[in-house]
Subunit: 133 residues, 2 copies
């Protein structure tokens, strides 16, 4: 079987998110798995860490690459990445789902097109949050 190196990598910084959502690694893990499945990706395994006194990281290993979140609950901040290789899975669907559940006041996003040569940088359309100008 021939695999394509083409991949889309959406990196989103979210601000103004509820402390309790960002400080719950277990809840975040379930949301990331749901987001991955909604995008059509295949979840292989999950790693997560609840930090003290606050903060969480979840890394989801996908057949198609990865989905991650790192949170700073005290700042209302979370950095999310979804990188998927191939044409069939759209990482933006996973990002849109997470923005829906996290309800940030503001998001800043970039999309990298990878696996084709020079990395191309695009400004993705964000579905529900106030997009940065």
């Amino acid at each position: 079987m021939e695999y394509s190196t083409f991949g889309r990598h959406v990196a989103v910084d979210t601000w103004g998110v509820d402390f309790d959502k960002l400080n719950n690694a277990e809840w975040l893990e379930s949301q990331l798995v749901e987001a991955a499945e909604i995008s059509g990706a295949c979840v292989m395994s999950v790693q997560s860490k609840q930090f003290e006194p606050q903060g969480a990281t979840v890394l989801v290993l996908l057949s198609e690459s990865h989905l991650s979140i790192h949170t700073y609950p005290e700042k209302g901040f979370a950095a999310i990445d979804c990188y998927t290789c191939g044409e069939t899975v759209d990482p933006q669907l996973a990002i849109d789902y997470l923005v829906d559940v996290l309800q940030p006041e503001k998001t800043y996003a970039k999309k990298l097109i990878r696996g084709l040569g020079e990395l191309q940088v695009e400004h993705p359309e964000m579905k529900t949050a106030v997009a940065a100008k």
Copy 2:
């Protein structure tokens, strides 16, 4: 304790890498852990997957965020990300180490500055490989 949301995220596509290096999840895992430690990051846990008929993914969960690789041995291609929050760990050191051991013929890289507002995109200096123009 106050944590900074400031983070540096280096995304590198490498080409022309030896098939056997890219098809060995166990070896890649040890190299990513070494790279993380060289950068001064703290490794919390590691997740890896050897794909069939070829290919590997390794995700390293750091105190400071994450380090990842996704490989396509049949294309000589690997996509590497190192994202570290705070000022003390420089993700470029981890990337430089991995380029040293993988010896790609060509690399294409972008660096995102995160956690400050709009994501800034920079073109990182790559230490040993032929940088894309």
